[in-house]
């Protein structure tokens, strides 16, 4: 049944298939449910019992062991939509979200694609064509050059010549890369070959393309991105910026909105440039235009992500706009219903990405079973996750377990709320970066708002080591727990605890009181 809010829309739908997994699939499926839409999940074998499947109204199994057979299998996903009566497909991020051919296939199958037109994905998905289009549209770009690498030619010679013209330090990017994969910094000519080979390999492994882009590496710059929303009627607004300067090897660690480095004047100029960039590719839906902001306040276009972004919640917190709901509306052909004048900034939001990784071992991904997973709750705290207590963390997928998002009246309050919420996130059984994130949230370099994109890569990670614990207390706890026979009760006693079995959260406070303190 078409929900009330969609009545009269040019392209109404009542069922949406989410072609993704993990926390983003859960996020979109929940939004669908809240909007009165039916949500359909797809899942591969390892995800059969996962939270996103549980959240959906209906689900379709994608057989096969590889991603190509499952979450990257466009044909099977379109068939899954047909068989479950889904009229629309939401791709989430990653996987098929930035594949123009998939967007076209969805439309060719008579389904609604919840995303931008294939042409916009194509243009922006290729860093070289994106840059060309931005130059044409008057959006400022970073000095750099494109190189088409063919197997037979003297590609290293061509690369070295281009690198010399652009100047060191430089950034090598595989044109089809993303999320830090296939992207390498080169600080001196003698490292060019090694880094190129690593970049090419990563890009081929993850995406299957070999074109390379060389650009000047701006040091001491910040990563600031603008969220845009456009409808199919030509309206386009921006929802202010997110600052994602705290990153490690191009993987974002903590994101925030607004940026401590952006003045109202920069915000207005950057917002205009982002809207211009979106309009240059006839954008529709939610997208993000990424910029580098120099310490002198100049900004340069980096790329446009033609999809929802991992860190979209911080924008939702400060603007009050539900981006996924807006995506549904735009896909249905409805007008945005927002003008630039309607969009403000309330307070400050931060997001920390909770990864199964070991900061003390070079951030190596960690695996294991989440013997305990209890997320913090309270005013201004939001946890977007795809895992529950008892779930296994494996090598099959990205090691991001959750996003912890906080909202507070000021930046200082937000940083404190983030630290405190991290302290109350009880994730046991799998090594995570939670302690490292706490050190970051408390660190004067972070709280002063002065982080630039090279900060973590040029820092000694040992500076963020957690305080040494008191061995007596810990050993006494382990010995006492053993003595009390608590190891025989099973993992965290999930069956007997008051934690909600779906979310792992301790549920209703009154229920907790009555059961815990008889």
């Amino acid at each position: 049944m078409i929900p009330d809010w969609m009545h009269g829309a040019p392209r109404p739908f009542d069922t949406v298939l989410v072609a993704n997994r993990g926390e983003i699939a859960v996020r979109v499926l929940r939004a669908a449910k809240e909007s009165g839409l039916r949500g359909v999940a797809v899942f591969s074998d390892p995800d059969a019992g996962s939270l996103h499947v549980e959240t959906a109204d209906d689900s379709v199994h994608l057989p096969g062991a590889s991603l190509a057979e499952t979450y990257l299998n466009g044909e099977a996903i379109i068939e899954a939509a047909r068989s479950t009566g889904a009229q629309a497909i939401h791709p989430g991020f990653g996987f098929l979200s930035e594949r123009a051919d998939f967007a076209n296939a969805v439309k060719a199958a008579g389904l609604i694609w919840i995303g931008p037109p294939a042409g916009a994905i194509d243009t922006m998905g290729d860093k070289i064509s994106a840059r060309r289009r931005m130059i044409e549209s008057g959006v400022p770009v970073i000095p750099g050059e494109e190189i088409a690498i063919s197997e037979s030619s003297d590609h290293l010679g061509v690369l070295a010549a281009a690198a010399a013209r652009v100047g060191y330090p430089l950034l090598l990017k595989a044109s089809a890369g993303g999320g830090g994969k296939g992207m390498r910094a080169v600080h001196e000519p003698k490292m060019l070959r090694t880094e190129y080979e690593a970049a090419a390999r990563e890009a081929t492994a993850a995406f299957g393309d070999g074109t390379v882009y060389v650009e000047r590496l701006l040091t001491g710059a910040r990563h600031v991105e603008i969220q845009v929303l456009a409808d199919s009627l030509g309206n386009c607004v921006h929802l202010n910026e997110r600052d994602c300067s705290l990153q490690r090897r191009h993987q974002k660690v903590i994101e925030e909105a607004p940026s401590p480095a952006v003045t109202p004047a920069i915000r207005a100029a950057m917002g205009d440039a982002a809207v211009q960039a979106a309009k240059a590719v006839d954008y529709e839906g939610a997208g993000t235009v990424e910029f580098l902001l120099s310490d002198r306040g100049e900004f340069f276009f980096l790329e446009m992500n033609t999809r929802l972004q991992v860190e979209h919640p911080v924008t939702e917190m400060i603007t009050g706009v539900d981006l996924v709901q807006k995506q549904f509306e735009v896909a249905a052909g409805m007008p945005l219903g927002l003008t630039q004048y309607d969009i403000g900034i309330t307070g400050h939001a931060m997001e920390a990405r909770i990864y199964a990784e070991d900061p003390s071992k070079g951030f190596l991904p960690a695996i294991g079973d989440l013997a305990m997973w209890r997320a913090p709750a309270g005013p201004g705290i939001r946890v977007d996750t795809g895992v529950r207590e008892g779930d296994a963390v494996t090598v099959d997928f990205d090691p991001m377990l959750a996003k912890l998002i906080v909202h507070a009246p000021t930046r200082t309050a937000a940083a404190r709320r983030l630290d405190n919420a991290l302290a109350n996130l009880r994730a046991l059984g799998v090594t995570t970066n939670i302690g490292f994130l706490r050190q970051m949230a408390q660190h004067p370099d972070f709280t002063s708002g002065g982080i630039t994109t090279d900060y973590l890569d040029s820092s000694d990670i040992a500076n963020f080591a957690e305080p040494e614990p008191d061995p007596a207390t810990l050993v006494a706890i382990a010995a006492a727990a053993s003595r009390l026979g608590l190891d025989r009760a099973g993992t965290a006693g999930a069956a007997t605890s008051t934690a909600d079995e779906h979310t792992g959260h301790a549920g209703d406070p009154f229920r907790t009181l009555t059961r815990s303190f008889p």
């Binding site: 991904p365 046991l428 050993v475 010995a479 727990a481 059961r515």
Partner: protein, 166 residues
């Protein structure tokens, strides 16, 4: 039982005194030597996975879960792992100069051969795990005793990739 904390190889023992269900720390040794310690007492809590802990008169909760021989403990906003060992047992995985795969994955490059001398921090192998590359570096200067895998090989977590002697 002997205990170690996190990655440290230091072994502790604890003596507990039971008083009506409350266990108080009455003795702590590190590597067999008696250690001074504060007042720590622990009692069962009605919620599973949680203990009431009193340290020097201050009460707090510890959340815990047991995985294998390790107790994962969340205390005062920090997460710790306390590993249990049979008394006198050798440290697992602390083989001299052994370099183990931190994750299951695939070997991409092998940069050294047996007999070669390496610097501390020199890249020995490059492996791919979870679609990211990881460099396996020499923890100390020395001579490569063996390299156990070739490019393209799949390895399990904990596999000994190479060994380095003095």
């Amino acid at each position: 039982m002997e205990w170690s904390i996190g990655e440290s190889s230091e072994r502790y023992t604890a003596k507990l005194t039971d008083s009506e269900g409350t266990l108080s720390l009455s003795g702590l040794t590190s590597e067999g030597v008696e250690q001074a310690h504060g007042e720590v007492s622990i009692s069962r809590d009605s919620q599973a996975g949680r203990l009431l802990v009193e340290v020097n008169g201050r009460a707090t909760f510890a959340h815990f879960a047991k995985v294998g021989d390790s107790w994962w403990i969340h205390l005062d906003g920090r997460i710790h792992v306390v590993n249990g060992h049979e008394p006198g047992s050798a440290d697992a995985g602390a083989g001299e100069g052994g370099l183990t795969a931190p994750m299951p994955g695939t070997i991409l490059e092998v940069h050294v051969t047996a007999g070669q001398r390496v610097r501390e921090g020199q890249t020995l192998l490059v492996m791919e795990a979870m679609k990211m590359e990881h460099r396996i570096q020499a923890p100390k200067a020395g001579e490569v005793i063996s390299v156990n895998f070739a490019a393209g090989d799949r390895v399990d977590m904990g596999a000994i990739l190479a060994e380095i002697g003095d």
